[in-house]
Amino acid sequence: MAVIEIQNLKKNYGLHVGTRDVSFAVEQGEIFGFVGPNGAGKSTTIKVLLGFIFAQGGSASICGLDVVKNTKAIKAFTGYVPSDVRLYGGMRVRELLKRNAAFYDDVQAGEVERLCALFEIDTEKRFQELSTGNKKKVSILCALMPNPRVIILDEPTNGLDPVMQKVLFEELKRRTALGATVLLSSHNLAEVEEYCGRVAFIQEGSILAVTNLGEAVTHRKIITVTGGPGSAPEELTLLREEGEKKVYRTELSGKVLLAAIAAMAPEDFTVENESMEEYFWNLYGLGDV
């Protein structure tokens, strides 16, 4: 069942295009990646989903509720972690958490305590005294506190140390296992590769592809060949040349792949699964960079 559905979303800021044509659906229980360069339209899409801005065309819904008409109802079960966390600086964290809890009907005190312990949050400090990473942790706690069915995160690991990144994603995995749905906008391809099942790639306001990483990435191979007189068969796509080295991508595997490499009679070669990063570069036409 699609929890988040976006159809042909179009948003302009005056002459500047925010999104041109964005469509994708996020299924219940998945961690869905949303990837693209700066200015591609990721944040614009999220802002429309959360009712911060209004689209000029297309539609978007969360749990079947239109994001424009039902924004308050949607927020009751949606948690959001912004990229740049800005809260009331003069407040102590414990007061912020108390006020945040007051926005919802059924925040469990035990859950707040568990999250504070999990993310190692010092509740006695004023928000403005916190480091970027600690501010992010407070924002994550505010978003997760009401136990949301839908979690939208915009660059959630910016500023978080590796341990906390791991803690965050383990918590997200735990919640998705219980039925929550996560939309993760990120520049960090490694975390997207590790935690997301499917990914929407966006460029200049349009979706390039919605990819099931399990199918698209892991079954393609990157072959790096050094030297050798033979030419590559057409099933191997040349991505780039680095001196004597040539880098190919192919969907061949097993004996057929070995035969193709043998035909080139290379001095040396390596074979590895295509990484998310490699996939990204090629999808965006940057494979020869």
């Binding site: 800021y13 959360l50 009712g51 911060f52 209004f54 308050k72 009331y88 926005f103 978003a143």
Partner: protein, 269 residues
């Protein structure tokens, strides 16, 4: 009521600072009053004003109030400028009411919560209204106390006079505030707050002066709410029916326009 409480908290510090400073000015002005009853001081003030152009005296609200030994005349003159300062302090808060959260980025947090834009507008306006009424009421209380100390007014007389003066100030503050709130939904950054505030308060104040000084521009008094509450006029005629209609129309229209605008605007995040 969470946003209401948050907004009260946000307004708290500047409201306290503003209230203390204006209350201080009121106390200082009233402390001067006993010395104004001195005959030589009256003669000095009278001589100074006799040398001034009549139109200028009128513009300054002094035309028929030359006897500063009467507290209503003395404080009524000073309160014109106190009212100007009150308007600046309150309108500044009104203009910042919505745009500050956008410039500070806290609106991203607020709007992600279980609230509608209508909730945000209603609760912020309510918090602002409480601050306006609270601070103006406090000025009135300080004034009553001052009157009792420096005059032989009874408590009832002091309350009546302070109620008329600060009731008028409250009404005009609400008129200005409504326009300020509308401006808050229109401007692009909180950096524009000071400019809009000064333009709104001093701009209309200058229009009022022009209306008095240039007879042909008499109609401009309709655009100068501070002229509606010049003490002499307020004491004798009160706020005129046309001024009630114009002010209430501005309050209703500007607040409704701000509400409609904020519900459909793209937040600047």
């Amino acid at each position: 009521m969470n946003i209401f409480l948050l907004e009260l908290r946000n307004l708290r510090k500047s409201a306290i600072a503003g209230t203390l400073s204006i209350s201080g000015v009121i106390v200082i002005m009233l402390a001067f009053f006993p010395s104004m009853q001195n005959e030589s001081m009256q003669a000095l003030a009278g001589a100074k004003m006799a040398g001034m152009d009549e139109a200028l005296l009128k513009a300054l609200g002094l035309s028929a109030m030359l006897d500063f030994s009467v507290i209503t005349n003395f404080f009524g003159y000073a309160v014109q400028y106190i009212a100007l300062a009150i308007m600046v302090l309150l309108v500044q808060k009104a203009v910042a009411l919505f745009i500050k959260e956008e410039t500070d980025g806290t609106i991203e947090y607020l709007c992600a919560k279980q609230v509608s834009r209508g909730d945000i507008v209603a609760q912020k306006l309510l918090a602002y209204f409480v601050v306006v009424v609270g601070t103006v009421a406090l000025y009135a209380i300080v004034t009553v106390g001052g009157y009792l100390l420096v005059t032989d007014y009874s408590f009832g007389q002091a309350v009546r006079e302070a109620s008329i003066i600060f009731g008028g100030i409250l009404y005009v503050a609400l008129v200005f505030s409504a326009v300020g709130v509308l401006a808050s939904t229109l401007i692009k950054s909180s950096r524009g707050v000071a400019g809009v505030t000064v333009g709104l308060v001093f701009g209309t104040f200058i229009l009022g002066i022009m209306a008095v000084v240039v007879p042909k521009l008499d109609f401009l008094k309709w655009f100068s709410p501070l002229d509606w509450i010049k003490t002499e006029k307020l004491m004798n005629e009160g706020i005129l029916p046309g001024e009630w209609v114009a002010g209430i129309a501005v309050i209703v229209c500007a607040t409704a326009a701000a509400w409609l605008r904020y519900r459909r605007k793209d937040l600047l995040i």
